[in-house]
Subunit: 343 residues, 2 copies
């Protein structure tokens, strides 16, 4: 069955799978904020959370336990309950005829599954076979910057070091950061339960499983997903991903080597007119993006674009983006919006 | 007057200028820990702190206000009161015949002033003309790693992103981080007074003055001081320095490009036998250095040394080091120890 080019022209039935998580909660909030045309919202979660109440516009609706009949008649499923849940329900969802936009990493690199950042590769979305993958948070933020620049001058190599917030590990990791910080300030030593080590006034290399090449999974996600989204399968890419004691915004220190010199002012103008990006560059005040600037905001903030003094063809820049919004929930909804009928 | 090759063979008279600061306090602690041969310790500070008491071994000694006669008969001055204080007292100190080891950036790049990391360029110290400069904290940590590697294969280019603790901005910045974090956790919004922005669950590009090339002073210190310490004046070097909500240990994400491929196992063995470095690489547990591992420790911890998948001649590694100890106080004392007579 060929995918439908767009949703029907009526209020949609939308299921949010993983409705109680950090991303699921934000998805429901953003669906309302953006007036996504919803006739019926179905928040789904595991048995543990089923029965809890969810605010939706002026109503209070009950969170349901996901089951084989949950997806009957549903137009769109926004899933953010983790890879194993997405894998478990994928076939049921696809057979129901719903479009599945999945925030997990389960299908991102699968052939035939578009991996989409709407500002970068919207057309890929229309090649879907029922399932579209939402990229990793750090990748989404980075690709917003790389795509318009490489359209001007091809990129040879990207080196990035990240400063990733607790939210990337979920709502419980955010809560743990607050709790362990409080304990530390009160002179108590508490052990972490959610993250492997305490993030309180501490940081550590991203704890996703190490691959054979000694890059962790998160770092290889960034490399491979960036290649797929940008359509540059052989892009030279190296990321070092670090978890820092920040609640919900990621930052990235990015070094980009092009095939020839890239005039900084040209890069600045290109980024300034690129969708999803807001420049914050007050050189005179030494004021550039910070996590607190982007918390709860849609745009990725970019600043201190400069010539790399160590390489004639490289420029460096700094970005911050809300991990839960553009890094996850917002991007998923923007993908869905590509399929709304033009009015 | 040619510098004396070493201190006299008797207990020394040592002045600590800036005795009440984060580094000064640590200097006094480490002098005791390492049984530096002190006959008389003179803690000096501004009028504001004069009269305060300082613990020294089993005694309590009074902090004195620095004046023109403070340095009479002093053998060694360890200064960490900031560049303007060092500049103000430099000539008085040198005329007194004391050796001045200065932790500020005031003289580091001056010709005739050795800039020394004892594990890297101890011989430079003996070229002094009364004054030896202690390098920037991030530079000390980095040079410990770069020096033994470049002795094996020449380095072409270094790209580093830092994760710098509040302590680099002094004891008051550390206190502010704790205070603003507490306020945040209690739902109060307080403004920063010491640092330009709140570090509580936040981070920002290092706020030292921007240079014309849009690198900040801290980043150019790293570049220029690394070049001077390693004796490679044209080293391609680019740093992005970031202040993070950690109390007193710096971390660095380091990409090193060599003139030819560097076998990772070879690099690991070299670093493992290099002074001042301790490897922490539990690949099976995904366990690498964290700020909490090095707090209060002398050694710089290095981990996850790996082949850069984006460049055949590059390796990447991660390090953490106590900013106040090896990044400042300890290194200064190690420089002084070079001049102790061999017993």
């Amino acid at each position: 069955m060929l995918p439908k080019p767009c949703f029907p022209k009526r209020p949609l039935k939308v299921a949010v799978l993983g409705a109680t998580g950090a991303v699921g909660t934000e998805i429901i909030k953003i669906l309302d904020e953006r007036s996504f045309p919803i006739g019926h919202l179905l928040p789904l979660a595991s048995r543990k959370s089923a029965g809890n109440l969810q605010k939706w516009k002026n109503e209070t609706i009950k969170i349901e336990e996901v089951n084989a009949k949950s997806f009957n008649g549903i137009d769109l499923v926004l899933a953010s309950a983790g890879g194993s849940i997405s894998k478990a329900w994928k076939n049921v969802i696809l057979e129901s005829g719903a479009l599945l936009i999945d925030n997990s990493s389960a299908f991102r690199m699968d052939q035939g599954v578009p991996l989409v950042v709407p500002e970068v590769n919207p057309n890929d979305a229309f090649q879907h076979q029922g399932l579209i993958a939402n990229p990793n948070c750090t990748t989404i933020l980075l690709s917003l910057v790389l795509a318009p620049l490489t359209a001007e001058i091809p990129i040879n190599r990207v080196i990035v070091s990240t400063y990733q917030s607790a939210s990337g590990a979920g709502a419980m990791a955010m809560e743990e950061l607050k709790q362990l910080s409080k304990a530390f300030l009160e002179g108590r030593e508490e052990q972490s339960q959610v993250l492997p080590y305490s993030l309180a006034f501490n940081l550590f290399l991203h704890n996703s499983p190490l691959q054979e090449n000694n890059y962790c999974e998160e770092e290889m996600k960034m490399a491979n997903e960036t290649r797929k989204i940008m359509g540059i399968p052989n892009l030279n890419f190296s990321a070092t991903c670090v978890r820092v004691p920040v609640l919900r915004a990621h930052s990235e220190s990015i070094n980009i080597e092009f095939s020839k010199p890239f005039e900084v002012e040209n890069a600045r103008q290109i980024l300034n007119s690129s969708p999803g990006i807001k420049l914050l560059e007050e050189f005179e005040n030494n004021r550039f993006p910070m996590p607190t600037d982007v918390t709860g905001k849609d745009d990725v903030m970019v600043g201190r674009i400069r010539q790399d003094i160590s390489h004639p063809n490289a420029i460096e820049l700094w970005l911050c983006g809300d991990q839960i919004r553009k890094g996850a929930a917002l991007n998923a909804i923007q993908i869905a919006e590509l399929f709304l009928p033009k009015s």
